[in-house]
């Protein structure tokens, strides 16, 4: 899972000694992998900073989307995936609308998150949404207070979704299980809870 912010990393010291673009940390396949998932010209970044300048998260954190784009161009996989800032993108797509190189940096971030998840690096809140959807078909499920209000409004107490038709849940679970996402989510969440 992702580390909390504000960590001090002895590995960073190590990296800073290496002035050859972190050769041993760099993975040329990373750029390609990101490209396949993001379906954008991620390798074309020229570091103008329009993305960071557009980013609502940048002024209130150390998250710099330009930096992730740079790491992506140079294939710095570990450095990208282990940086907790990766999870601060609100996916507002301002950077994507304005990027002069017509790259979709937002989709680059999403692709990197996918790759991070494959390596088990992922904040638990993302996984809890998965668990909720697996359970009920809804990321934000119904509750009794809301059911009462729905009835008052003349609506069915549960919406005509999987809530009213739970017989569709096995199909949805099948989709999620096809990529073993629930299984992996359970494992990572359990691990995280064990470590508090």
């Amino acid at each position: 899972m992702a580390k909390a912010k504000g960590y001090s990393d002895p590995k960073m010291e190590e990296k800073l000694k290496d002035r050859y673009y972190y050769r041993e940390y760099s993975n040329p396949d990373f750029t390609k992998k990101v490209h396949d998932l993001a379906r954008t010209v991620n390798h074309m970044c020229f570091q103008c900073g329009t993305c960071t300048g557009s980013c609502p998260s940048a002024p209130r954190s150390s998250y710099r989307i330009r930096l992730f784009m740079r790491r992506n161009v140079m294939g710095l996989e570990d450095e990208s995936l282990t940086d907790p800032d990766l999870w601060l993108c609100t996916t507002c797509y301002c950077c994507t609308d304005r990027c002069p190189r017509d790259i979709a940096p937002t989709d680059v971030i999403m692709a990197m998150r996918n790759i991070a998840y494959q390596r088990g690096i992922v904040p638990v809140n993302f996984l809890k949404t998965v668990q909720a959807i697996y359970q009920s078909g809804h990321g934000v499920p119904n509750n009794d207070v809301n059911r009462a209000v729905r009835v008052r409004l003349g609506l069915a107490k549960d919406p005509p979704t999987t809530h009213s038709y739970p017989e569709f849940l096995p199909g949805i679970r099948q989709i999620i299980d096809h990529w073993h996402v629930k299984e992996k989510a359970d494992k990572i969440v359990a691990e995280a809870e064990k470590h508090g």
Binding site: C48, G49, T50, C51, T52, G53, R98, P100, D102
Partner: protein, 684 residues
């Protein structure tokens, strides 16, 4: 001109009677070719191709010893034709034709097989395939060479006059050079004055010369040059003809005002416009002034700017209400004619220089920067007028919202340039970095305590003394922020602007409040460029700039013989580069005129009279009006070719139902032989 009937018969006889003896020369081009294909195998193969009596290879066939191999082989082996397998004919066809000629053959007995651009370069990862393709190319070339005939280029007389379209600094310079070289030059300008964009600028970088001060002497020179016929407020309407003999139809747009010469010609003695300006104050119509970027009013009768050449008022008939007040004010001079209509006129010139200039990219399309949404966001040409002593504010920089003097000014570089979104322009507009540095200097000079903030991605200060200028402006206190501007928002109360960007050097997002923003907007081809270039048959590149004949080795020429380009219309460039290219274009345009004749490739259509039924269908098909029907000896009609007009496109030859048209150098038997050689292989 078309006395070729007997020759057709004669050469055709020659083609069929002679037993072909072809020599093949394969060029290594260093490793360009030999590094990919198996040259030895190709030579061995060439020797097996029918009609080949000689085959050899050489490191560089285009070199002097390489050419000697061709001349020697022609003599020793009594060759009837030569084939060189090497690069594109665009590069070395003239070289090898010359070598063939020196060997004693007609130069058109030479055929080229392109095994580099269309072979080793595109198939560098497939040596075996490239080798086979080279063999095919040689076999096809030999098939054609075996049927080639002797041809003689035609020469045509060149009209001793030139035309320059566009009278900005590029057009003016080209016209002056042509005129000074003794050539009658028509200088055509769509606006009422010459001078172009440069006359809108305040100062020029890096010398900080006053733009008008260095421009107006040239304008005066142009106005007075005996060999220049100045045609302001004119547009090109139609173009016919070819190098040496362009017939250009010009439209003299109705300006409603008679010059003194025109008045004289109409018998109004001592009349015509002397530029006194009595008409302007009485005109009741007020419109925005385009010379001042719309920031100053203009009357319906106006002079374009105070230093116009020629000094002549113009009526904007789109806004004139024909009240007649100006006519009264003009009085006895009788210079104003409110019923004036456009007039057409034809001139004949030998060569043409296009100097069509540029417009600003409509930067309001980049919505994130707020141009035309927020009062205090201006483009750089508007800033030029706002800091120019002759501009709407007499050189006092004020912000449009409230007339206050700005103390913090942000400059946004690459505003629509280097933009692959489809909204802006993918290219670098090339002079914005430098004029923005100049702007920073100018506001520092004018406004004590002002801070210019220059938002940039790269500062491209590539010219002579440009980097030094960059150093100087930084020393003067301009702040350079390395980050492209993401967004500009207005404070609705103060009308100040918040500039959002990342200072990528500090790795920090910034929100900078400034009083005014200047967008260094991209440039794009001037509005009328596409129409004009099509009239002259000139191509353009993807981004709309006119296409030069070769980007490095023929930067002033175009693919249309006799038409040349100068200035920004060929691609963004600053004033020194523009003037240099204009002088280059003028020089190139003067050469055919001074020689007095041009040689045309002899790829003309020829009529085989005994087969021609005189149906005349080809006459209507010809895109160049090169064909006509004439009376035949002994009655009936027969087609005749005006060779100077024929471009050898083959439209008529492909169409002729009787097979009566012989396309020289691309004759049907030659082309069929090539196709056969390709499809049937080449076993002896």
């Amino acid at each position: 001109m078309a006395d070729t009937k007997s020759k057709v018969k004669e050469t055709k006889a020659k083609v069929t009677d002679q037993k072909p003896r072809i020599g093949v020369f394969v060029c290594h081009c260093g490793t360009n070719i030999a590094g990919v294909v198996d040259v030895k195998a190709i030579i061995e193969y060439a020797k097996t191709v029918p009609n080949v009596v000689h085959a050899e290879d050489y490191q560089y066939v285009c070199s002097t010893p390489g050419q000697k191999k061709i001349t020697d082989a022609i003599k020793e082996k009594n060759l009837t034709g030569t084939v060189v397998a090497a690069c594109s004919p665009r590069l070395h066809e003239p070289t090898f034709r010359r070598a063939t000629k020196e060997g004693g053959l007609n130069p058109f007995r030479f055929e080229m097989a392109n095994i580099r651009e269309q072979g080793t370069w595109v198939h560098m990862h497939d040596p075996a395939g490239a080798t086979e393709k080279a063999k095919d190319a040689i076999r096809i070339a030999v098939a054609k060479a075996s049927l080639l005939e002797d041809l003689t280029p035609k020469s045509v007389a060149v009209e001793h006059a030139a035309m320059v379209v566009g009278a900005g600094i590029a057009g003016m310079q080209a016209a002056l050079d042509l005129a000074n070289a003794g050539i009658k030059t028509y200088l055509v300008e769509k606006l009422p004055s010459i001078g172009g964009r440069m006359s809108q600028l305040d100062k020029t970088f890096p010398t900080l010369d006053c733009s008008q001060c260095i421009l107006t002497p040239k304008m005066v020179d142009v106005g007075r040059a005996e060999n220049i016929e100045l045609l302001t407020y004119h547009e090109v309407d139609a173009v016919e003809g070819f190098i040496g003999n362009f017939d250009v139809t010009l439209r003299k747009k109705a300006n409603g005002v008679l010059s003194m010469a025109e008045a004289e010609a109409k018998g109004i003695s001592g009349g015509g416009c002397n530029g006194c300006g009595d008409c302007e104050p009485v005109c009741p119509v007020i419109k925005p002034n385009p010379f001042e970027m719309g920031m100053k009013p203009r009357k319906a009768i106006y002079i374009y700017h105070p230093q116009v050449v020629p000094l002549l008022y113009t009526i904007d008939f789109d806004s004139c209400i024909k009240c007649g007040l100006c006519v009264t004010a003009c009085g006895e001079k009788k210079a104003i004619d409110l019923e004036m209509k456009d007039e057409l006129r034809k001139v004949k010139v030998g060569t043409v220089v296009l100097a069509l200039g540029y417009d600003m990219f409509p930067v309001e399309n980049k919505r994130e920067w707020g141009y035309k949404q927020f009062d205090n966001v201006v483009n750089s040409l508007e800033l030029e007028r706002l800091i120019c002593a002759s501009g709407p504010t007499a050189g006092h920089l004020i912000r449009p919202s409230d007339g206050q003097t700005p103390k913090r000014v942000a400059f946004v570089l690459c505003a629509g340039s280097r933009d692959n979104t489809g909204i802006g322009k993918p290219y670098c507009s090339r002079f914005c970095c430098m004029y923005s540095l100049k702007h920073a200097h100018q506001i520092i000079e004018k406004i004590p305590g002002v801070i210019p903030y220059i938002f940039y991605m790269d500062i491209r200060s590539f010219g002579k003394m440009y980097e030094e200028f960059y150093y100087r402006i930084q020393d003067e206190g301009a702040k350079f922020i390395r980050g492209r501007v993401a967004n500009i928002l207005e404070d609705p109360v103060t009308k100040n602007l918040h500039v959002y960007a990342e200072d990528t050097m500090l790795n920090r997002p910034i929100d900078l409040e400034v009083d005014m923003v200047v967008l260094a907007a991209a440039v794009q081809p001037a509005a009328d460029t596409d129409r004009t270039r099509k009239l002259f048959g000139v191509s353009c590149s993807q981004d709309g700039w006119l296409l030069e004949a070769h980007p490095k080795l023929n930067p002033c020429g175009t693919t249309t013989a006799g038409v040349f380009v100068a200035g920004v219309c060929q691609g963004p460039k600053d004033i020194p580069d523009t003037v240099a290219q204009a002088e280059g274009a003028a020089s190139a345009a003067s050469i055919p005129i001074h020689i007095g004749k041009v040689e045309l490739e002899p790829y003309f259509a020829q009529c085989i009279e005994e087969k021609c039924a005189g149906c005349g269908m080809c006459v209507n098909l010809c895109p160049y009006s090169a064909l006509s029907l004439v009376d035949k000896e002994g009655g009936g009609k027969v087609m005749q070719v005006t060779e100077a007009k024929c471009k050898g496109c083959g439209t008529c030859g492909g169409f002729c139902p009787g097979g009566a048209i012989w396309m020289q150098h691309f004759a049907t038997p030659q082309v069929i032989a090539q196709i056969d050689a390709f499809l049937l292989g080449g076993a002896k």
